[in-house]
């Protein structure tokens, strides 16, 4: 059973039943799921969670749908890596990487879509829909396929072939939309209002965003049932950033971990940095931007949770950095070369920002710090293709190999 009780407006606190609704009918503020925390506290133990499946559904008691009918393609419970090499380089003695590239469609979007799709099916929807430039489209297509639901996925007309294939393999109805970013946005918002479909990040968004909490649950469990001191999280809509902390808070509320004042820091690309810009200006009002960055999975110019991200930065004493496209590529390479993890451009944003914050002294050397890598690098190979060493090309002889290998420089020997 689920302990979810209501939807509640984050602004005026009006309550609504657990229906498909994403903004308050009165003030248009966002609504979010509330739970019976007394019930959770009485029924949920560390042992119960540890005995659950190796997926996000081990935290079913904290999610707004019944686990028995959940659409489970194995999202979640991804590795938490002690990043000793990268930590040494950055002067951080307790650095961890939460590697969410290992999800079924290789990004953290599987967490949010697993919950949204499950709740959508409970609510009687037969079609799942979304508008996406990549990761979300892949995940919606895969979950709909597994659930036997129809998927309708809207994509920009100029999306790279690799990203289109990453969705089309699952058999959705793919719709390429001509027009710029704003036009695609407005069309999809209108369509979401016109059709009785479950648009995962629109009318079932309150359930969708709950999936992100599971990153917080997992990190705490993997650290031996304790929250970290500091998190560095990429900010797109801001939902992930806000919900990871909600995960720590809910575990504390349920008595499963000690309360801790975890500092939450955000990472954005300079080409789409409404939250970082507002934070640097000391403002709680972000100005929407038209995105221009290689980190397309973070390219949200008008973030739904932008304001709440700024509130969280202020409340937790975190920082928000932004990094250029060149720094993003360097960040991707740094993570790969030090920890063997190939993250997508959003991962480059996180690592480059982590480096920036460490250099500025904004992360304590001994703080238990977790950096979140939310998608796999094979989704954005074009971003790094021109900055990597080309392979040696040789004839099929030992002499040819040795000549080419020696030519790499005096530091390289063939012995």
């Amino acid at each position: 059973m689920s302990f979810a009780t209501n939807l509640r407006c984050r602004e005026c606190h009006r309550e609504y039943p657990l229906a498909a609704l994403n903004v308050c009918e009165y003030c248009f503020g966002p609504v979010e799921v509330t739970y019976d925390y007394d019930g959770i506290r009485k029924n949920v133990t560390r042992a119960r969670i540890e005995a659950g499946p190796s997926s996000l559904w081990r935290y079913r008691d904290f999610l707004p749908c019944d686990a028995e009918s959940a659409i489970d393609i194995g999202a979640g419970f991804t590795p938490l890596i002690r990043a000793k090499n990268l930590g040494k380089l950055l002067g951080l003695n307790n650095l961890y990487i939460k590697n969410d590239t290992t999800n079924p469609t290789w990004s953290f979007k599987d967490r949010v879509v697993a919950v949204a799709a499950s709740r959508a099916r409970e609510l009687g929807y037969e079609k799942l829909a979304c508008a996406s430039t990549g990761n979300l489209a892949n995940s919606v297509s895969a979950h709909a396929a597994a659930a036997g639901m129809e998927a309708v996925v809207f994509i920009p007309h100029d999306l790279e072939l690799g990203k289109v294939l990453g969705s089309s393999i699952y058999g959705p109805t793919l719709v390429k939309v001509n027009g710029n970013y704003d036009a695609v946005n407005r069309l999809c918002a209108e369509l979401a209002g016109n059709y009785n479909w479950a648009f995962v990040n629109v009318n079932v968004r309150p359930y969708y965003s709950e999936g992100s909490k599971t990153l917080g649950f997992e990190v705490a469990e993997q650290l031996g049932w304790q929250a970290p001191d500091h998190c560095v999280v990429p900010i797109a809509s801001g939902s992930l950033f806000v919900k990871i902390r909600k995960g720590f808070q809910e575990l504390a509320k349920a008595g499963l971990i000690e309360e801790k004042a975890t500092r939450m820091s955000g990472a954005q690309a300079t080409g789409c940095s409404p939250v970082a810009t507002a934070w640097q200006e000391g403002s709680m009002n972000f100005r929407p931007q038209r995105p221009d960055t290689i980190a397309k999975s973070l390219a949200i110019g008008n973030p739904a949770d932008g304001y709440y991200s700024l509130v969280q930065l202020k409340e937790t004493g975190g920082s928000c950095g932004s990094v250029t496209d060149d720094e993003i590529v360097q960040g991707m390479k740094l993570l790969a070369e030090t920890e063997g993890i190939f993250g997508e451009t959003a991962g480059g944003v996180t690592i480059a920002t982590l480096k920036q914050l460490a250099e500025q002294g904004r992360i304590g050397a001994d703080e238990v710090t977790v950096a979140f890598i939310t998608g796999a690098g094979f989704k954005t190979v074009e971003a790094v293709a021109d900055s990597l060493n080309a392979p040696l090309e040789i004839d099929a002889t030992v002499e040819s190999f040795e000549a080419a290998y020696r030519a790499l420089g005096p530091a390289v020997g063939v012995a």
Binding site: E11, N22, V23, Y26, C27, F28, G29, P30, K109, C130, A131, S132, T133, G134, N135, L136, F154, P156, Y181, V184, N185, R186, C188, A189, A192, F199, N201, V202, R205, A236, S237, S283, N285, R287, P288, K296, S297, L298, A299, I300, G301, N302, P303, A304, D305, G306, A346, G375
Partner: protein, 80 residues
């Protein structure tokens, strides 16, 4: 009759303009402000527009031509 919910974001140079009032006079559209935050540098307003669908679209195009940024109330819908 159609109803549309939008977010207006005003740049600094439009903060002193009675833009929503003017929109209501120039077009047969009822404007209903639900939430807002305006300071001396920038501001946003969440509002509901009610009227003929095409008239609402014309009013939004007019506001956009004045320099207002118009978004869905729930933020960007296209995600990565």
């Amino acid at each position: 009759m159609s109803v549309k919910r939008v977010k207006f974001t005003f740049p600094e140079d439009l903060i002193r303009e009675p833009l929503i009032y003017n929109l209501g006079h120039a077009f047969r559209v009822i404007t209903n402000v639900r939430m807002a935050d305006v300071d001396e540098k920038t501001g946003w307003v969440l509002l509901e527009l009610e009227g003929d669908h095409d008239e609402i679209e014309r009013s939004l195009a007019w506001a956009q031509s004045k320099g207002v940024r118009i978004d869905p109330v729930q933020g960007d819908v296209v995600e990565g």
